[in-house]
Symmetry: C2
Subunit: 389 residues, 2 copies
Amino acid sequence: MPVVAVVGDGQLARMMQTEAIELGIETRVLAGAPDESAAQVFGDVRIGDYTDLADLKAIAEGADAVTFDHEHVPNEFAQTLIDAGVAVEPRPEALIFAQDKLEQRRRLADLGAPVPEFAPITSPADAQAFWHQVDGAVCLKATRGGYDGHGVWFPSSESECSELVADLLDRDVPLMAERKIAFDRELSAMVARNRSGEVAAWPVVESQQDDGICRVAISPAPELDDEIARECRDLACRIAEELDVTGVLAVELFEAGGKIQVNELAMRPHNTGHWTQDGCVTSQFEQHLRAVLDWPLGSTAPTAPVTVMVNTLGGEQQPEMPVAERVAEVMRRYPQVKVHLYGKTYRAGRKMGHVNVAADTLEEALAVAEDAAHFIVNAAWLERRAEGE
Amino acid sequence: MPVVAVVGDGQLARMMQTEAIELGIETRVLAGAPDESAAQVFGDVRIGDYTDLADLKAIAEGADAVTFDHEHVPNEFAQTLIDAGVAVEPRPEALIFAQDKLEQRRRLADLGAPVPEFAPITSPADAQAFWHQVDGAVCLKATRGGYDGHGVWFPSSESECSELVADLLDRDVPLMAERKIAFDRELSAMVARNRSGEVAAWPVVESQQDDGICRVAISPAPELDDEIARECRDLACRIAEELDVTGVLAVELFEAGGKIQVNELAMRPHNTGHWTQDGCVTSQFEQHLRAVLDWPLGSTAPTAPVTVMVNTLGGEQQPEMPVAERVAEVMRRYPQVKVHLYGKTYRAGRKMGHVNVAADTLEEALAVAEDAAHFIVNAAWLERRAEGE
Ligand SMILES: Nc1ncnc2c1ncn2[C@@H]1O[C@H](COP(=O)(O)OP(=O)(O)OP(=O)(O)O)[C@@H](O)[C@H]1O
Ligand SMILES: Nc1ncnc2c1ncn2[C@@H]1O[C@H](COP(=O)(O)OP(=O)(O)OP(=O)(O)O)[C@@H](O)[C@H]1O
Ligand SMILES: [Mg+2]
Ligand SMILES: [Mg+2]
């Protein structure tokens, strides 16, 4: 059986491992430390640094495919591996558009894909000009290195904008600006593609962010117009093809007034695809492995009318009740809840795990998933609120 | 989070690990060698011997529960651990009825559960007497140590029976005899129970054996009378309670002329429960972990109208096509097939893996699962046969 080397030690690598075990695929992981989320659960753990070429070479040695759970491997090193005959999936030519938001905006605009108005920002003067161009509806972004909303700013005045830009440029943060979209909601169109060119699309999902961090995903996106759903899927498939993406691709989208615009791209399993673990024939983690091995892709048919995923993010303070007890309480109240935990140490705002709930109706799935996640985070049920209504 | 120690290194331990990862449960495994099925995929692997008390003590040290993927741990050692305060689940008082077929027959008969006529066999004379008692419909069984039909014999004449018994007793095989049942089919009623006494039952499954080894399981058992289904489930729940079983219990049953009789008990995840991985809200492996930790049990609701499991047993000879290629071919033809492989070296008749297929109809699920499993074993499709019909 083939060997897949995963670079990165977070929950995405961890959840790839569960699927790899069942498929009989051999795996190894390049992790920063032995107690990281993925390092806890791989049999073959190499401690090292993904910005060190020697460590990358070592993990790639003899692997049938090398893939990632994040986008931060230096592209020149990925290219060095490819030149030496290693199947690195996705390749840097594609990955660049998930790494650099400005490159992404330019490339998608070239493709004619709908994107918000944008501009590179290399001086406070650039920012001022853009401020006027969009009437103050400015979203400022670090072009690289952002995640979970870190690296996204919405300045509320022209002077705040200028000062922020001056400060960020001072600290060598590479910047761009784009129009702040008054979206109705955010969607996510996920597909997978293998090197042979096969593409498979999941149902389009609604995703909800809190402070820039994904908290809820609902599959399928409720009351999504069929036309728009098709447009989202077609767009994601086209991007996968045009950019020669391999593995899972998430296209984050804004929906506003019946129109869609691309927010950003991720080329790996994505938070808005976690629902597939318990609501779909093929999970995004299995699909990613199949895709990077150039195996045929699995069915993306849902197994329930609605599946809701809610993240369990670290709260301001960890409750006194031990997490195992909180999980047991959730299981007692909701036998249908699927709990996923990442083995991470507690930190406020950190993605510690998620729950998935499949149900016949949106109302039920959402109510149960929200309550279950709330209890895991807070050791208290939400429900009182509803009772009081 | 709690720590579960698993004694035994086969596919059942391996598949527990995939569920443990998602639940965030810490695990360790006591394995005979580092390349065994489960040892390949646990982060914490202790190489040792499950008949060695020191090795058992070491794996149990600090674990919140100790459980098994087979029934062969000496009960006195399990008791020693329990006396030292370790939660060994299931306990030896229960496990004995899965270890010893004669003890099981006696205990179930005491409970008034339907079992075939049976007798202990300690001499050829005992066998002769039993032969006449059941008019030659004799099934001879090793009371201990049998698996996959090894340890089950159907002598076809009185003299063959006597000779076989003499020979087996000579080799110190502990024996019993029971009536050979002309069953219509075999069923499996699976439940899980935790120490707090909660019991959850899955739908009753039809299982098909080839040469005494499970090959196919169909959930739910096709056209099973509602009354009989209820009887099977009630019986399994009652056995779990009366025997104080913890973890997963499989009750293997014969159905003959609208009546059921118990064949044997297994107190661990069971081959006839593999379908739950891809056809049920809670898989038997997750349920087993929850049960042995005394966590509340998960929903046993199916997620599809029918799910069929077919084992991929090693054939007489391994095909030339590499297994990865065979798997890829199956994925190409059947995007809905779920492939599970155990990482085992090839051996004729060995359980190497299984496939699960969920579908709307029995016909579809069965046809696809049989064809897929056949290809993985033989590198050839079944379907020509059907075309030729
Ligand atoms: N142009 C915009 N207009 C309005 N809101 C925006 C805009 N761009 C981003 N946002 C909001 O900020 C969130 C985070 O933005 P983005 O996805 O670009 O950041 P990120 O830090 O890379 O996040 P991720 O964790 O998804 O990689 C978006 O999901 C959206 O809610
Ligand atoms: N009394 C009987 N009459 C007819 N067939 C029987 C009888 N007992 C067992 N068999 C057949 O032999 C098969 C194996 O028997 P049994 O389950 O007792 O053996 P085992 O080796 O312990 O198998 P397992 O792998 O299920 O533990 C049964 O599934 C059934 O097909
Ligand atoms: Mg984003
Ligand atoms: Mg049996």
